[in-house]
């Protein structure tokens, strides 16, 4: 390894602080469940759930970028790792969640019942 290694301890602790704060915020929201977020929904999911998912993605970003130190890798490696995962996960979620919702509507609106 030719490139020099400077100590990243300060950044590591900063990221740890950030991850902890996000987790605490998530738990607080999960316990009090503010009605304005919990009862209103956007695209078939409550705003609270959207908030949780966005905060989770922020946490994931910091884990991958700072702890796994992908920010220090060459952009070819970064793209080869991150882009396929993002694309395939979005594709998978789109297909499965649409299908799940369709089956829910079949159970709800037609004569087929899972529970009789």
């Amino acid at each position: 390894m030719s490139h020099e290694h400077v100590s990243n301890t300060k950044r590591i602790w900063t990221v740890f602080g950030l991850l902890s704060i996000i987790t605490i915020v998530e738990v607080i929201f999960g316990i009090i469940k503010p009605a304005s977020l919990y009862m209103n929904s956007f695209m078939a999911m409550s705003l609270l759930n959207w908030l949780f998912i966005i905060l989770t993605l922020v946490k994931a970003y910091y884990i991958v970028w700072a702890f796994m130190h992908i920010e220090g890798e060459k952009s070819t490696l970064k793209n080869a790792v991150v882009l396929p995962v993002i694309f395939l996960v979005l594709y998978l979620l789109f297909i499965l969640l649409t299908e799940g919702n369709y089956i829910y509507e079949v159970f709800k609106n037609s004569t087929i019942k899972w529970n009789f």
Binding site: V27, G30, I53, T56, K74, L77, V89, G100, N101, N115
Partner: protein, 325 residues
């Protein structure tokens, strides 16, 4: 390592190894691509969980009613605190891991040893916590009734608080022995019988006029539906099974699929943590005997670190989709 590939001679070397276009060693690259495939595996599981949840969106269990235990706090409803603590433990062990990698870059053997040791301890505490969580989930708290159609009935009092089967079921003079292998005619046996029979629960329900039944259906206020006394009595006539706790076929908290996915996904993640601990221990001893000191590079610590952070990353998503959303 030559960076130029313009001369005819070095073209052989391009395909002969030793060339690092991504400026990362073979081992590190393969760890990254293993992580990509493992991330897609977990995404598949979580997306399947989402599929089943969207399919039964109106009857899915509410997570903060399922996971309410905290050690040494019996009977106190403490949703989320315990799993938040577990998340902290895992994030913190990720921090000690990255500090070990950082110390490795500076060739400080003693620091690497200390930080790796802390990482291993953190991982063990996490797996232990998960075992405790499983124990509570399997044991159950209140008990419920499963109907012939497969839906689940839970019991509440007038205020809507949950009531355990043990608090109202009567004891009838009936005996049913558990079928064991020694008494079965062929390879027959059955799992342990629940503490009460359906008839005992029905008789107890009749004797307590203030009890009501709560179904799985989620109302507009995002609460479970509570039936009137008359409907409750009618519903209870369809009872077919007493369910206590959760396993792969029955689940007192609600949808059976919830228990199946919980066991499968947290189990698969727990297995990853477990193998991570084993690999960490191996690397820890290698550091201790000075393998990497002699090699002149602590890259092995970095590779196992990547795996460990990945395990943490997966937990962040499991935490969100099983406990928060």
């Amino acid at each position: 390592m030559e960076a130029t590939v313009t001369t005819a001679n070095s073209e052989e070397k391009t395909w002969g190894g030793g060339n690092e276009p991504m400026k990362a060693s073979y081992g590190k690259l393969m760890m990254w691509f293993f992580i990509v495939s493992d991330a897609l595996t977990f995404s598949g599981f979580l997306a399947a969980y989402g599929f089943s949840r969207f399919k039964f969106i109106e009857t899915w269990p509410l997570a903060d009613e399922v996971f309410t235990h905290f050690p040494f706090m019996h009977g106190v409803s403490a949703p989320m605190y315990y799993v938040a603590l577990m998340t902290f433990i895992l994030i913190f062990s990720s921090v000690t891991m990255v500090l070990a990698v950082d110390a490795g870059h500076q060739m400080k053997k003693n620091k690497v040893v200390i930080y790796m040791f802390l990482t291993i301890i953190g991982g063990m505490i996490f797996v232990g916590s998960q075992a405790w969580e499983w124990k509570n989930f399997i044991k159950g708290e209140y008990g419920a009734i499963e109907t012939k159609g497969g839906s689940l009935l839970q019991f509440v009092d007038k205020e809507g608080h949950r009531v355990a089967l043990a608090d109202f079921a009567t004891t009838l003079p009936e005996e049913r022995e558990q079928l064991s292998r020694s008494k079965g005619s062929w390879f027959m046996s059955e799992s342990s019988l629940p503490s009460y029979s359906v008839a005992e629960v029905q008789a107890g329900f009749k004797a307590h006029p203030d009890l009501l039944i709560r179904t799985e259906v989620i109302t507009k206020e995002k609460q479970k539906t509570i039936l009137s006394r008359k409907d409750s009595e009618l519903r209870l006539t369809q009872a077919s099974l007493v369910v206590e706790g959760a396993n792969l076929t029955h689940n007192e908290y609600g949808s059976k699929l919830f228990a199946d996915f919980f066991f499968f996904i947290t189990g698969f993640h727990g297995f990853h943590v477990f193998s991570g601990i084993i690999i960490n221990i191996i690397i820890f001893f290698n550091v201790l005997v000075g393998t990497y000191e002699k090699r002149g590079s602590y890259e092995m610590v970095e590779k196992v670190g990547l795996y460990w952070h990945f395990v943490d990353l997966v937990w962040v998503f499991v935490f969100t989709f099983f406990y928060l959303v």
